[in-house]
């Protein structure tokens, strides 16, 4: 791997970390809105008021003694996900896909006992996964079952769609597919595949793994070209609504498509990563500057999504 000159990166309009932090996150994201996105429980409650649906909430574990209720609740369930409310980057998320007598089957296929899950819950409460190590709350959610059209691309794990929303306008999107290397997680830096999506129509552009372009999924072997996301406009509108809900000017919206419920919001991120640019093969800066230059912004999420679909074709 070689080096690229900063002038060339500038020419491509690549947003870099320092500029993202100073010119976008610090300027457009008010500190007071952070708890809303850093806490998944608060996110769920806030976006619900704006007609953005999230996976169904099954249980909230706030105190150590409430862990004992978890076993009773989990008795009748086949699949669920345990998440730390203040976790970041998918840390501390345990996905249970089924049961085998007393044991639970994780998404990776390994089996764990209920005492293992209780220990995990107690770790979450102690703040092991929370951003600053502060005490946390565990939430138990309904298991998301991805639609087969997308699920087939992913090695285990649920494929999710990351949309970067700037001042309410969806500016760039990618599909994230878990791989063997990423251990069923959809995190790009752990080795998940990122597939850039054309904002205009939800069609795939190019794909990267570990920052290198690929054409086939390394584990499933499926071609990643000509992949198309259904209900694309609806998803863009959903992402756009999150702007009204949180007031965050620059954020990443993570969506999944459930086989029963349709598009659901998984989580919001006030510090979305930069790898999305590699997956799209283009920089964010020209698009962000175009939004910043708008004299009059659009009022409704529908208008903004439509504007983005018209403007951000694969050329820009």
């Amino acid at each position: 791997m070689g080096w690229i000159s900063p002038f060339k990166l500038n020419q491509l309009g690549m947003l870099n970390m320092n500029r993202r932090n100073v010119d976008y996150i610090a300027r457009y994201n008010s500190r007071s809105s952070y708890p809303m996105v850093d806490n998944k429980l608060k996110t769920k409650l806030v976006v619900a008021e704006y007609d953005v649906r999230t996976p169904k909430l099954l249980q909230i574990v706030r105190q150590q003694h409430e862990i004992s209720h978890f076993r009773e609740m989990a008795e009748d369930l086949d699949g669920f996900a345990i998440k730390p409310a203040k976790g970041s980057g998918g840390k501390g998320i345990t996905v249970i896909t089924g049961r085998d007598d007393d044991e639970y089957i994780k998404a990776s296929g390994s089996r764990v006992s209920s005492s293992h899950l209780e220990r995990h819950l107690s770790n979450i409460l102690a703040g092991l996964y929370s951003l600053a190590g502060t005490p946390d709350v565990a939430i138990v959610e309904n298991l998301v079952e991805s639609i087969p059209e997308l699920a087939k691309y992913s090695f285990q794990g649920v494929p999710d769609i990351r949309i970067v929303v700037f001042q309410g306008y969806p500016v760039m999107a990618m599909l994230r597919l878990a791989t063997k290397a990423s251990d069923g997680k959809a995190n790009l830096h752990q080795g998940a595949v990122g597939v850039g999506l054309n904002i205009a129509n939800g069609r795939s552009l190019n794909a990267v793994q570990f920052n290198r372009p690929i054409t086939l999924h390394p584990d499933t072997g499926l071609a990643l070209e000509n992949l198309l996301i259904d209900d694309w406009q609806e998803m863009l509108v959903m992402a756009s609504r999150c702007y009204e809900a949180t007031g965050l000017g620059y954020m990443g919206v993570d969506l999944v498509v459930d086989v029963n419920e349709g598009p659901l919001l998984l989580e919001l991120n006030a510090r979305p990563g930069l790898a999305i640019q590699m997956a799209n093969g283009r920089g964010l800066l020209p698009r962000l500057r175009q939004i910043e230059a708008l004299r009059r912004t659009h009022f409704t999420p529908e208008e903004r999504a439509a504007f983005a679909m018209d403007t951000f074709t694969s050329q820009i």
């Binding site: 080096w3 690229i4 060339k8 491509l12 690549m14 100073v22 102690a126 290198r212 093969g281």
Partner: protein, 504 residues
């Protein structure tokens, strides 16, 4: 956007300019050197007073230098066992006074003064302008004096030129009759002074000492001083050369007498001198208490606090290194400022033993942490247990090192235990979640930044500048604030985004 940043950049500029200019100011005023090990010449002059006691109470009073031109006094000291001693400042003249009740036989008193050459020292200024002393002459001198003064006045325009002309006229080789009538070898300088006073120019004699390295038994040389309305000007009474020659110390200026002894006879003063060099820094420290700028420096603090500040003032440099490495280079470290604390520990342990100790403590800690994680403990008690384990490990390493004959094993105790415990905890979680590779990337990144910070912090120049010029931290602060505004690409991003080359 761009408008709101102008005051910010202006403030940064002011901050940096203030830091640098205070440093330069203190360098010039206090003479604090920019580099370590700079040497400055110092003259050590010793006046030796000899006299014979007559069995009566003795009071010996020696005139001592008071703001001599071209020199600065840095210390004064008297050595004379059995005598009471004090320095008396009596109506503008400073005198060293020795006293003793019963004195008989030959006596010797010493007075030592340390001086540094300083071109900017102009000498003392009289509070009130002196007036010429009235002089009376008897005939036939009166006529001769009048004539000589007339001649000199005709050839001159200012008090200085008048003085020069008069000195020339009084030289014996001029052969003038009036001169031979007036001048004798014994009264020459006295005569000159009186004539100038008679002409309305305030004049006096001063005694100078020519400084030459390692000379003993030197005597004072008379100089002529006249007052030109602003300050005292010095002339060579024989050659009429104006100004004080280099390396001449005016020992006596305002005082009427050099030495007064009550209760003794056969008195004599002689001088010996030595040229020494002392570190410029020591000199500056010695002077800082006298100088008005001294309050800005840390030299006034007790030594113990000073050594603590020496360490503390290095931390901003470490912060600067960390900020640079993270913002501009883009090296990932585990814990933002953990590398600084490690670097501080390295300063105590020195680099190689420190690195070995740190890596072994963390490695052993990671192994033990693996067992702790299977115990299903709450976070707080797990960290607490880890802290205790880290202390066991360091104690074990110290003892093992000592038994094997490595004293360096002991230095492991300089590491901050709680920080190491947290580092182990974070590394362990990182290992479980992101894999061993990320642990090595972040661990190596932290150590690399720590070593860089250590190399800068342990440089003698760095600790010299940070401690002696604390105001330079304004500059460090300004640079760190400026880096907070850096929105360009990090060095590592040029590599990370390399695949984008395909799309350009």
């Amino acid at each position: 956007m761009s408008r709101s940043r102008i005051p910010f950049f202006f403030a940064i500029l002011l901050l940096i300019a203030a830091g640098i200019s205070i440093a330069i100011w203190r360098h010039v005023e206090l003479g604090i050197p920019w580099f370590t090990g700079e040497q400055k010449p110092v003259w050590m002059v010793e006046a030796r007073v000899d006299f014979d006691g007559t069995g009566e109470p003795v009071l010996a009073s020696l005139n001592i230098p008071d703001q001599p031109p071209q020199f600065r006094i840095i210390s004064e000291q008297a050595a004379s066992p059995g005598y009471g001693f004090s320095i008396v400042d009596d109506s503008g003249e400073r005198r060293a006074e020795w006293s003793k009740r019963n004195v008989s036989g030959p006596q010797t008193l010493y007075f030592k003064v340390q001086l540094i050459p300083d071109d900017r020292a102009l000498g003392s200024q009289p509070k009130r302008p002196p007036k010429p002393e009235p002089v009376f002459w008897e005939e036939p001198q009166a006529t001769a004096v009048e004539e000589l003064l007339q001649q000199a006045a005709e050839r001159s325009s200012t008090p200085e030129s008048m003085t020069r002309e008069l000195i020339k006229l009084l030289q014996p080789d001029q052969g003038a009759q009036n001169t031979t009538l007036l001048v004798s070898e014994a009264n020459y300088i006295d005569l000159l002074t009186r004539m100038l006073n008679h002409a309305g120019i305030p004049a006096r004699t001063a005694d100078g000492l020519a400084l030459e390295d390692a000379r003993r038994r030197q005597q004072l040389r008379p100089f002529l001083q006249i007052y030109d309305g602003a300050r005292w000007l010095t002339f060579n009474p024989r050659t009429a050369e104006q100004g004080l020659p280099e390396h001449v110390l005016l020992w006596r200026q305002a005082a009427a007498s050099l030495l007064d002894i009550v209760g003794g006879d056969n008195s004599d003063v002689s001088f010996s001198m030595l040229r020494q060099t002392i570190p410029a820094l020591q000199l500056a420290q010695a002077q800082s208490s006298e100088n008005g700028l001294g309050f800005l420096s840390l030299y006034q603090l007790p030594i113990e606090e000073q050594s603590m500040f020496r360490m503390l003032l290095l931390l901003p440099l470490g912060a600067l290194v960390v900020a640079f490495m993270r913002i501009v280079v883009g090296i990932r470290t585990s814990g933002t400022f953990m590398p600084i604390l490690i670097a501080v520990a390295f300063v105590q342990t020195t680099l190689i033993p420190g690195l070995i100790a740190f890596i072994s403590v963390v490695a052993i800690g990671l192994l033990m942490r693996g067992y702790l994680s299977s115990l299903n403990l709450l976070l707080v008690s797990r960290i607490s247990a880890l802290i205790i384990l880290v202390i066991f490990i360091t104690a074990g390493l110290s003892i093992a090192g000592y038994q094997m004959g490595f004293n360096t094993g002991m230095t492991v105790t300089f590491f901050p235990m709680v920080i190491i415990a947290w580092t182990i905890e974070r590394m362990s979680i990182l290992w479980e979640e992101e894999g061993a590779r990320e642990v090595f990337v972040q661990g190596a990144g932290s150590l690399f930044v720590a070593v860089c910070a250590f190399l800068i912090m342990s440089a003698p120049l760095a600790s010299h500048l940070t401690f002696n010029f604390p105001e330079l931290h304004f500059v460090v602060l300004g640079i760190i604030l400026l880096m907070g505004q850096y929105t360009g690409y990090k060095l590592t991003e040029l590599r990370r985004f390399y695949p984008m080359k395909a799309y350009s």
